[in-house]
Amino acid sequence: MASVTTNVAANVGRSSARGPKPRRVLSPRNIMLYGTLILMCLYYLLPLWVMMMTSLKGMPEIRIGNIFAPPVEITFEPWIKAWSSACTGLNCDGLSRGFWNSVQITVPSVIISIIVASVNGYALVNWKFKGSEVFFTILIFGSFIPYQIMLYPMVILLRELGLYGSLGGLVLVHTIFGMPILTLLFRNYFSSLPEELFKAARVDGAGFWGIYLQIMLPMSLPMFVVALILQVTGIWNDFLFGVVFTKPEIYPMTVQLNNIVNSVQGVKEYNVNMAATMLTGLVPLFIYFASGKLFVRGIAAGAVKG
């Protein structure tokens, strides 16, 4: 306190130091600060730029030119080829197949996994039963265990269910392995809601599903959006489960992309490769830019321990 008053007194004494503190835009501190940040941003932006530029060039221009330079002549040929006629092995119908496969995998996986996990979270908070905390603890531990150790048992399980190699099987896999993080997300959210609300609904005669659908669901729509973002990007970007649990005709986009780009046959068409890479990245990028801070909230919520 004392130092504040002396400062005020000193400022009153000097007529020159009146009014708002002068702001120097180009102070050494600001140059260092913004310089570093901008430099780092170049590192982050560079690949996106290169990807974009390469995908819009013809192969001759790529061979003689500079990967950072914008195209002299813009061509969308690589995009069209990547989408509709790039080859993986014997199939030459481009990434479109993988795209639609990914859509067919992602949509049901996202919906089912969110429904299951939100009900889990709700049951864990409001309808605890003997051992429910134990299951939750195992679930959280399970999210850290390397998937590799559960891969083969999962293969056997799917085979027994007749789902191995099918879309349904992959949906089940995504529902199971997405469960820990999503359940944690919903459990934390539901436990932040006042418990008296739940009690009031019980007195009002609503049952397990009634409270879930009529009280909890309408109150947690933002959380559902967060979960949606998390799951769409997560499942779209999956590679390992796609490779292990599906067969080539229904490979998701990421697997197909890798097969197109890293195929050893033929001449490497870098522009087509980059167009294919861009195409695969578009869905999560769109989600990312459209969702803004909700994406940040989602990944942060997923990271915070229960």
Binding site: L33, T36, L37, C41, Y44, P47, I67, F68, V119, Y122, A123, L124, V125, N126, W127, K128, F129, L139, F141, G142, F144, I145, P146, Y147, Q148, I149, L151, Y152, P153, M154, T175, I176, M179, S191, R202, G207, F208, T233, W236, N237, D238, F239, L240, T254, L257, V261, N262, Y270, N273, M274, T277, T280, G281, P284, L285, I287, Y288, F289, V296, A303
Partner: protein, 317 residues
């Protein structure tokens, strides 16, 4: 004022505490809140059958000589001896340890420095954050392929710099067994540091404003405040980052497959690739199980001390 300081706030009517149930009809206990129990079946199935059951199953069969199909012919630790005798596995382990150590150090340092810079009440914070975080939304496959292209010696950065007249410039990490891991590191950091930054930033923002006021009144320079006051206060955030990053590193798979396919030679192989190879293409399940058990073991080495520190110290409830 709620009155439940000494017992666990229980949030539902369906909890059964204690064992005595003198006046309760026994059958009713089981069927009360039946819906809740039915709804929890997927979770119970996942935890018991897949997580616990699957893990035990794999560990169990890692002691057999299963080849194409799992079979119960026990060979003791033979699979593990073979595993550690295999140069492919030993290289994979060396790679993941080197990559992991580098990646942890850089992730934490870069993530924290970026977060500290972002915390200086800068303008365009949202823009900066959006740029730093977008790679995190992408697939590892996309990341791997882009960097494979940028680091391409004939047409990528090396080529561009040489074109600029510096003809002896050498930057070809991807084709040199000694440096290929740095190539992976550049890509991995590109994708992951934004996330670390966000976590660190939320940690910084969680620090009481009054601490900063006290630091200012005491006249402590900013860098000193960060080093001696703020970082020690952010211990939980650092631990979270460390655990998440470590768990991610042990799983590292897609990035390597896409960017280097484990090459040149076997110089960028990682354990997850070894597991995949033996389980799904080399038809030697026993080896795959043993390798994945080793992966589990390494996670437990990280996880158990952490869980002990986080949850073991304080009593539940």
């Amino acid at each position: 004022m709620r009155e439940r300081p000494f017992f666990h706030p229980d949030r539902g009517a369906g909890c059964y505490w204690g064992k005595s149930m003198a006046s309760a009809p026994k059958g009713m206990r089981l069927f009360r809140n039946l819906n809740a129990k039915i709804a929890a079946l997927p979770m119970i199935f996942t935890t018991l059958v897949v997580f616990v059951g699957g893990t035990l199953w794999t560990v169990f069969y890692s002691f057999t000589d299963s080849k194409l199909l799992p079979r119960e012919r026990f060979v003791g630790f033979d699979q593990y001896e073979r595993l550690w005798g295999s140069s492919l596995w030993v290289t994979s382990i060396q790679n993941i340890m080197f990559f992991g150590a580098m990646s942890l150090v850089f992730t934490i340092v870069m993530g924290f420095v970026l977060a500290a810079l972002m915390d200086q009440k800068i303008r365009f914070e949202d823009t900066f954050r959006t740029i730093m975080l977008y790679p995190f939304a992408l697939s590892f496959v996309v990341t791997g392929l882009v960097w494979q292209w940028i680091l391409n010696p004939d047409l990528g950065i090396q080529h561009v710099v040489r074109e600029m007249g510096w003809t002896t410039f050498n930057f070809d990490p991807m084709n040199n067994p000694d440096t290929v891991l740095y190539g992976l590191l550049i890509a991995g950091l590109w994708q992951g540091t934004g996330f670390t930054m966000v976590l660190m930033l939320s940690g910084l923002r969680g620090i009481d404003e009054d601490i900063w006021k006290a630091v200012k009144v005491d006249g402590i320079p900013t860098w000193k405040a960060y080093l001696f006051v703020i970082i020690p206060m952010m211990r939980p955030v650092f631990i979270t980052v460390l655990v998440l990053a470590a768990a991610g590193i042990i799983r590292l798979y897609d990035l390597v497959v896409a960017q280097t396919s484990g090459g040149p030679g076997i110089s960028s192989q990682v354990p997850a690739m070894y597991v995949y190879r033996y389980m799904f293409s080399a038809q030697n399940l026993g080896q795959g199980f043993a390798a994945s058990t080793m992966m589990l073991l390494s996670v437990l080495i990280v996880l158990i001390p952490w869980a002990y520190l986080e949850f073991g110290g304080k009593k539940r409830g």
